[in-house]
Point group: C2
Chain length 327, copies 2
């Protein structure tokens, strides 16, 4: 893979966001020619600071994936599309379901239609989510688990994923789908909990305030950003990945209250409060979740390498240095 | 049920279409106050002739379910919504995926948001489709079968169904989902195969031309319109139906070439040609399908009563009399 991406033309939607920017940085290091697309909608993950170190080595195209016309132009001549743009907040999807639909489903059809018409030889990796499984019927959750999303975001992300697989089956476009679990690391949104609850935990911790743990007994797993970007790079370059759906996962699983303890310990100071789950969030909560990612390991040898403790340490280090650009 | 719908205010989306109009006719007979909504888009199933006998007893509102504003007004004060408006053509969903998305998914969110905000006490029956199962992994297909749609129409109808179930779970709106299989009978579209291939078969038969059977070995099941409307009426009135998803089915299953034979026999004359499956349709075909509808039978005592032969006879009789209004 070291040489695979050299001089490859790569397009990243959501490329100023958390994972998109980490991926762009990796790809620049591998010698790829990178164009990032981002809408920079203030409530979403895009942040120009995320690409500060590589801004002169990439092309930044500010546009919204809902803008059919820009997508028709931008997909042309590209070798790889990493399709990461999305609305990620579960609560926002309930309060504004149509915006979630337009970004996570309707825009995906735009993008796929643009690829089909103007660049059918493209290779696409689509960032899907564990949210499409809904409340797990068994653990760990593998890719054969029933799909029964519990919120609007899950329904729309499922449609987005199914469009991608359909364009692979019917039109032969090379597609790999990665179903992400909680992903954490430098460049994630920490202003609020729209991208991940860990963001707001870290913000409060750095501001010297107790952070809130809702419930606390829920079990979750976490992928560190460096492991996630390596998953995307493998999914794009390994021919065995084409036409497949893979779960990502992390270094084991952990109860949220134990994660809170670990975060405070790694930080060296800080505190948290256990709070009751707010009723409106409880209604769309998925209870316990952790992924079985062995299919991806078996087929493409991807494995999460960063231990959770190390992931938290590196993340805290990053925000201790750069919090001003994220809050 | 005889008295249940008396004086009930009932709204039917797609109410000038095949099933919508049959349902409106039944409901008028039961003493309900019926408003039908239809866009009368020429390629879809709406036809003013469908309600000729009851036109002075119902309110006809010509509007598109994509029109958010009209829906916000029309759902107010209604007891029952039979939500049947949809784009039904699988091929059209592939050539114009965004139109299919806007009708079968986006408009459904409009409708549900309108109900949540302006009429949360409404009871909704949603017309879903067996298309969301994709290629059956086993037969007969029950409601627990995996959902893996093979065309854009299937993806969008699945999203539409999941929105409905979600608004039931999260907001407590009374919802029942019926997954329809091939439905046939008077008032269906016979101009082309956009609603059902049987439509175009009947048109050719009545015009004295051989109709085309593509493949012929595919197994299908058929619900007669009278059985389908009785399913909708039960789903709306029986409290045990609320929060449930039910398959509809029919009088057994049959290979398409045997159905062609039966249709010609019932008609007393006519002929057909077996043709190879066109490549673009083969790619989105679901192979054999027939439903297990025992869940609906057990929970709500619905059962298809009309034998296939009788269904074909009544349908042919209707179009022999009224073909001019449909071609």
């Amino acid at each position: 893979m070291k040489n695979y991406y050299k001089n490859k033309k790569v397009l990243i939607t959501g490329g100023l966001g958390f994972l998109g920017s980490n991926l762009a940085i990796e790809l620049v290091g591998l010698g790829a020619k990178v164009v990032v697309i981002d809408s920079l909608i203030p409530e979403y993950g895009g942040n120009l600071f995320n690409v500060e170190g590589i801004a002169d080595k990439i092309k930044i195209n500010i546009s919204d994936v809902r803008d059919d016309h820009s997508m028709k132009y931008l997909v042309r001549g590209v070798d790889h599309l990493f399709n990461l743009a999305g609305q990620t907040s579960h609560m926002d999807s309930m309060s504004d379901p149509l915006a979630d639909l337009d970004i996570n489903a309707r825009a995906q059809l735009h993008i796929l239609e643009a690829c089909r018409k103007y660049n059918p030889g493209i290779s696409i990796v689509y960032a899907s989510t564990r949210q499409i499984y809904g409340k797990p019927e068994y653990l760990p959750v593998d890719e054969k688990h029933p799909l029964c999303p519990v919120d609007i975001n899950g329904v729309n992300k499922l449609a987005g994923e199914q469009y991608h697989m359909l364009y692979h089956r019917v039109y032969g476009i090379r597609v790999c789908v990665l179903r992400l679990t909680n992903t954490i690391g430098p460049r994630m949104r920490i202003k609020d909990s729209r991208q991940t609850f860990l963001g707001i935990w870290i913000r409060f911790l750095l501001e010297g305030k107790p952070f809130e743990v809702w419930g606390g007994d829920q079990i979750r797993d976490f992928t560190y950003s460096r492991d996630a970007t390596s998953a995307f790079l493998i999914a794009g370059s390994d021919k065995k990945a084409a036409g497949n759906i893979f779960n990502l996962g992390g270094d084991g699983s952990i109860k949220l209250k134990d994660l809170a303890e670990l975060l405070v310990a790694v930080n060296g100071e800080g505190s948290y409060k256990i709070k009751e789950f707010p009723a409106d969030r409880k209604k769309i909560d998925i209870d316990d979740y952790y992924a079985d990612h062995s299919k991806f390991t078996k087929q493409c040898r991807w494995k999460p390498k960063v231990r959770l403790k190390q992931a938290l340490k590196e993340t805290l280090d990053y925000y201790r240095e750069n919090a001003g650009n994220y809050i």
